[in-house]
């Protein structure tokens, strides 16, 4: 923008428009600051360190799912199964710690915590792979395929313990599987471990989207599948990847929640898929595919996380919370549209100036 060289008199109008445009482009950021400022005034103790850490933990859970969801939505799909994968993976983590794996001949194998985490992540990836196979090989629409796995995975989580919670996942010293709580409650340099993991995953995903061919192909596939195929992109491979990655993110969340509570409950993660979708959309991901950024999604996840926690702290009823969350999402999309129109006007004003 060339506002610097303009005289104040003629440039006034233009710079207002241009400034407004910049504001709108940064709308997710602004929304984030707005919720933070609002609640620091109206919610007692909002800015306390303890609360900040608690909130960042909650937002982190949304953010993991939203990163996976962003890639899926960019390819033009949707993954409704992530909330259920969270629940099932949490149950598997709990089960492995408490009961191990029973082998024939009466042996039972117990795994240490690292092994448990790896197994659970593999399970998440496999469920994602099932989604991917349904969508690419059997041509099931993503909405339907993942709706199916949503029910199947939730049902399996409930069957696993007959609907019971698996409490007290402290592990046993003689089995060498203690320390599960580190993931959910540990901290490094004052930041929760889960936040550190989020930073790694988010940076990795953002790097992947820009610097790795497969990441770039995600955008191409979502924008025009046929043209992608004609350009030699292996469309099915790209789709398999995004659903597997989404499953992987869900598995991490399952681990973190179980670790935080030191218990696994089969209903954990219910409705989290909706939060993830909302965060992605709030961050500027287009539901029709082809567009979106990891950075925007993370901010979106934090806006939603802070909003829910802040409203709870203010004592707003949970019914009102739902209404407000819904309105925020709608406003975000409306602003998105307004930005486009404004952009036209600003161009015109710039032209008028240039003569």
């Amino acid at each position: 923008m060339t506002t610097a060289t303009q005289t104040a008199a003629t440039g006034n109008h233009l710079s207002t428009g241009a400034a407004l445009l910049t504001l709108m482009k940064l709308r997710t950021f602004i929304a984030l600051f707005a919720v933070i400022i609002f609640f620091s005034i109206f919610a007692p103790n909002f800015l306390s360190t303890a609360n900040m850490i608690l909130m960042s933990k909650h937002a982190t859970q949304n953010a993991f799912l939203a990163i996976g969801m962003t890639f899926v939505i960019i390819t033009g799909g949707i993954d409704l199964s992530v909330g259920s994968i969270v629940g099932l993976c949490g149950m598997i983590a709990g089960g492995l710690i408490m009961y191990g794996v029973a082998l024939p001949l009466g042996y039972t194998v117990y795994f240490n915590i690292v092994e448990v985490a790896i197994i659970v992540m593999v399970v998440g990836i496999l469920i994602g792979a099932i989604n991917g196979l349904l969508i690419t090989r059997l041509n099931v629409a993503p909405f339907i395929a993942t709706l199916g796995t949503l029910y199947v995975a939730r049902g399996m989580a409930l069957l696993y313990s007959d609907g019971q919670t698996l409490p007290n996942l402290t592990g046993r010293e003689d089995l060498g599987n203690q320390g599960f709580s580190y993931l959910g409650s540990g901290s490094i340099l004052g930041l929760p471990v889960s936040v550190w993991i989020l930073i790694v995953v988010a940076l990795g995903a953002a790097y992947f989207a820009r610097f790795v061919p497969l990441g770039r192909h995600i955008f191409a596939v979502g924008g025009n599948e046929r043209a992608s195929r004609m350009s030699g992109i292996r469309v099915n491979r790209v789709k398999m990847f995004v659903y597997m990655f989404s499953g992987f993110c869900a598995a991490i969340v399952g681990l973190i929640i179980s670790s935080e509570l030191m218990a696994s409950h089969p209903a954990t993660g219910t409705n989290l898929e909706l939060n993830a979708i909302a965060a992605a959309v709030l961050g500027g991901t287009s539901m029709s595919g082809g567009r979106g950024t990891i950075g925007g999604t993370i901010i979106g996840a934090f806006v939603i996380g802070i909003l829910s926690d802040g409203l709870v702290m203010m004592g707003v009823s949970s019914f009102w919370q739902m209404v407000i969350k819904g309105l925020v999402i709608i406003v975000a999309v409306v602003v998105d549209q307004a930005q486009r129109r404004l952009q036209q006007r600003v161009t015109l004003m710039q032209m008028a100036k240039a003569g």
Partner: protein
């Protein structure tokens, strides 16, 4: 110049701004009744933008529209239809999942009261319009099953059936061959006689000379010239369009082609309705050779290219690159093995509309910019993109803008650039000059020559006789799926090629 006052529509001081670009700057335009009003200009001059404004698709940022001496507002396509304005858009706009008849009558279905749509009547009426265009299309086929040329005819049939007072045609013939153009011109003459004001946009200058009455030149969003077609010649058009005489694209760099790098043997693609879309085609191309494939619509050129790229599951025959037979039916592998295709339908198969110009250019060749096997070196990528933009003179203010923000012709150049960036051994170009202006054509043709000089083997298809004569080392003629003849350019004459291209069609037309 004698100006009749038979003006039906007038644009006054129209300005249209998009984000970052001003497409029209205070442009005036008068459209006359019972005449063909031709609009010319380089790619990106603003022709389509102006037409979209008249059709109510876009609203002018500033300016007025007057019709029959009254100021009117065109806020939506429905407004335009109410004022008797119809349009054939530059890019195809059909509902692929609906039948041809349903497309033609979309939004004004023929109904039988409460019993809903009268499909039989729609099909009958649609067939009437299609027959007037001698399209050879049955109105109950699905639109997406038609090749692009026939889709264009359906678009035209729809616009004609609207019975409008103003009919805009934005490059209606870009996917048509000579025979269909002749029929279309008869239809246009008929409309003209009935007093319809026609707006005609095309980059095929000889068409403009044949059909036009008034000609208006647009340059960078401004009107720079206006004349009666009978007073001018094509040189005038070129000069007022690009400011200088056309660059001579026919200039040949003489070099001897090398050994054969590409060969097909007995490629066959059965048609669903029986018979063959591609009928036992065996053809070879040598290193550094440009083979032009001429044919009329439905000759099977696109289908042949698609078979070569592994697009069709059920074709038979063999394909060799440098003597090795290509196995499998996998486009990705074909590209790795050195083939590249510039598809005919740039919107559906060429571009990713949601991505930027730069991303579109590099999407097929990311593998070339890798470090450590997975990391894309952005600098390397960027410099390759800039080189492509320069080589093809793509008018891109900023490569990071959306690809859809460019004019049709520039989008076509991006599709060409993308294929070239994969560094192929054999390049298949399906109507590469579709929709690009004379200057750009020269750029593309010079690029083709240069690449051939560097040892690339090129197969290109075209329905433009002049183009195939000027550019090819050898000319192949296809007709109704069969390869009728292959001749050396030095031995080829226009008559010979035209008669060969009609060979398989005569019998087919009679059946139709």
């Amino acid at each position: 110049m004698p100006e009749t006052d038979d003006v039906i529509l007038e644009l006054k001081d129209i300005t249209k701004a998009y984000s970052g670009i001003v497409a029209l700057k205070k442009a005036d335009l008068k459209l006359r009744r019972g005449a063909v009003n031709v609009l010319v200009g380089e790619n990106g001059a603003g022709k389509s933008t102006m037409m979209r404004i008249i059709a109510g698709v876009e609203r002018p940022t500033l300016g007025e529209i007057w019709m029959d001496g009254e100021r009117i507002q065109l806020n939506s396509p429905a407004d335009a239809v109410r004022h008797g304005i119809g349009i054939v858009f530059q890019e195809l706009n059909l509902f692929g999942n609906l039948s041809v008849a349903e497309n033609i009558f979309a939004t004004r279905e023929i109904t039988r009261g409460l019993r809903g749509i009268d499909h039989k009547a729609q099909v009958e009426k649609a067939n009437e319009f299609l027959n007037r265009l001698e399209a050879g299309i049955s109105a109950d086929t699905l639109a997406e099953d038609l090749p692009i040329g026939q889709q264009q005819l359906v678009e035209i049939a729809r616009a004609v059936s609207l019975d409008t007072r103003i009919l805009i045609m934005d490059e209606p013939t870009s996917a048509l061959s000579a025979a269909e153009v002749d029929v279309l011109f008869r239809v246009i003459a008929d409309l003209k006689a009935r007093g319809v004001a026609i707006v005609y946009i095309s980059h095929r200058l000889e068409e403009l000379m044949r059909i036009g009455d008034y000609i208006t030149v647009l340059k960078d969003g401004q009107i720079t010239g206006h004349a009666m077609v009978k007073d001018i010649d094509t040189r005038w058009i070129v000069r007022s369009m690009i400011g200088s005489d056309a660059k001579d694209f026919a200039k040949q760099v003489e070099h001897e082609p090398g050994e054969e790098v590409f060969r097909t043997e007995n490629i066959c693609l059965p048609r669903a309705q029986g018979g063959y879309a591609v009928d036992h085609v065996s053809i070879g191309v040598r290193k550094g050779e440009i083979l032009g494939i001429y044919g009329l619509m439905g000759a099977g050129r696109s289908e042949l290219f698609e078979c070569i790229m592994g697009r069709h599951e059920h074709y038979t025959g063999k394909i060799f690159v440098e003597g090795d037979e290509l196995k499998g039916r996998d486009t990705t592998r074909r590209i790795r093995e050195g083939l590249a295709l510039i598809p005919e339908d740039r919107q559906r198969e060429g571009l990713v509309q949601s991505m930027s110009i730069a991303d579109n250019l590099s999407m097929a060749s990311l593998g070339q910019f890798l470090k450590a096997g997975f990391h894309i070196d952005l600098k390397l990528e960027k410099s390759a993109i800039m080189e492509a933009i320069r080589n093809l003179s793509i008018k891109a203010k900023n490569p990071d803008f959306d690809v859809t923000s460019m004019s049709g012709g520039n989008q076509q150049k991006v599709v060409i650039g993308k294929a070239l960036m994969t560094g192929p051994k054999v390049l298949l170009m399906d109507e590469p000059s579709r929709g690009i202006d004379v200057g750009a054509k020269a750029d593309v043709f010079r690029t083709m020559r240069r690449l051939a000089g560097e040892g690339l083997a090129i197969l290109f298809s075209t329905s433009d006789l002049e183009e195939v004569m000027a550019l090819s080392d050898r000319i192949a003629v296809m007709s109704n799926g069969r390869l009728v003849t292959v001749v050396d350019r030095r031995d080829a004459t226009e008559e010979m090629i035209v008669s060969a291209s009609a060979e398989g069609h005569k019998t087919k037309r009679m059946h139709a």
